[in-house]
C-alpha cells in the first residue's frame, strides 16, 4: 500500500485529501501512479492529465515522473507552489 495525498486546488478538484492505494503489479514510478489515477476518469482524468501542471512529492521530497514508488511510500500530488 502507498499513502496518497492531494493538496490545494487539486484536492478541491478531486474532492479527497488522502487515501491508501494498493500498487498494482508494474506500477513502480510516479508517472505510472499518475496514469493509474487518471484512468479513474472524470475529475481524475481532467485534473491529472499530462497537460496539467501537477507536481509530485515522494516521501515529502520533490519527485520527477521517473522516480520510483514502492510499498510504504507517501506520494503527494499538488499544483505549482505559490508561497512567499
Amino acid at each position: 500500500m502507498i499513502r496518497l495525498r492531494y493538496f490545494a486546488s487539486l484536492r478541491e478538484r478531486l474532492g479527497v485529501d488522502e487515501e491508501a492505494l494498493a500498487l498494482p503489479p508494474g506500477v513502480a514510478d510516479v508517472a505510472a501512479v499518475r496514469a493509474l489515477l487518471c484512468r479513474r476518469g472524470g475529475a481524475w482524468a481532467e485534473a491529472l492529465a499530462e497537460s496539467q501542471p501537477v507536481l509530485c512529492a515522494v516521501n515529502q521530497g520533490m519527485a520527477r515522473p521517473g522516480d520510483a514508488v514502492a510499498d510504504g511510500d507517501e506520494v503527494a500530488f499538488f499544483p505549482p507552489v505559490t508561497g512567499g
Binding site: 493538496f7 507552489v81 508561497g83 512567499g84
Partner: protein, 155 residues
C-alpha cells in the same frame, strides 16, 4: 542561530533578527526580506488570503533551501519564518533573515532563499475577493527568478 518555522501566529521581524544574531559577535551584516500581503492582485481587491501547506514536507524543503544557501555562501545564520492560515492585507507572510560577516554574502543569499522558496516550498495561496475565492496562479517570473541561480556566475 539557524531556524525554519511555519506558524499561524504573526511574527516580529526585529525579534527574529535579534535571535539570529545573539551570541555571535562575528556577524557584520544582516539582510532581511519581509513579504507582506497586498490588497490587490491580478486586478482584483483581495479581502483576505488563506495559506495552505504540506506539514512535514514544508519544513524539510525550507531546511534544504537553507542548507543550499549555506553551501553556496559563507553565512553565520539563516532564519525563515512562514505563516499559514488566514491573513489580511498589510500582515507579514514570510521573513527571510540572513547573517554574514560582510554584506555581499547576506544580500545574495537572502534573495536566493526567497527565490527558491517561491518555487520549491509547498505553500499555496487562496484569495478571497468580491467575486469569491480563487487559488493564486503560479507566476512564470518566479520560475525565471529561481533559474538564474543555476548560473554559477551568480554565486
Amino acid at each position: 542561530m539557524d531556524g525554519v518555522r511555519v506558524q499561524t501566529e504573526p511574527f516580529d521581524a526585529a525579534t527574529e533578527v535579534a535571535a539570529l544574531c545573539a551570541g555571535n559577535p562575528r556577524i557584520g551584516a544582516v539582510v532581511t526580506f519581509l513579504g507582506l500581503m497586498r490588497d490587490l492582485n491580478d486586478g482584483a481587491a483581495v479581502a483576505s488570503m488563506t495559506l495552505e501547506h504540506y506539514p512535514g514536507m514544508t519544513e524539510k524543503a525550507l531546511a534544504a533551501i537553507v542548507a543550499e544557501a549555506r553551501a553556496r555562501w559563507a553565512l553565520d545564520g539563516v532564519r525563515v519564518v512562514h505563516r499559514v492560515g488566514t491573513l489580511r492585507p498589510e500582515e507579514p507572510i514570510v521573513l527571510v533573515a540572513v547573517a554574514s560577516r560582510h554584506r555581499g554574502e547576506a544580500f545574495r543569499a537572502c534573495e536566493f532563499v526567497i527565490d527558491w522558496l517561491k518555487t520549491r516550498a509547498p505553500f499555496w495561496k487562496k484569495e478571497t475577493t468580491a467575486a469569491g475565492e480563487r487559488w493564486v496562479a503560479h507566476r512564470a517570473a518566479d520560475a525565471e527568478a529561481e533559474a538564474r541561480w543555476d548560473d554559477p556566475s551568480r554565486s
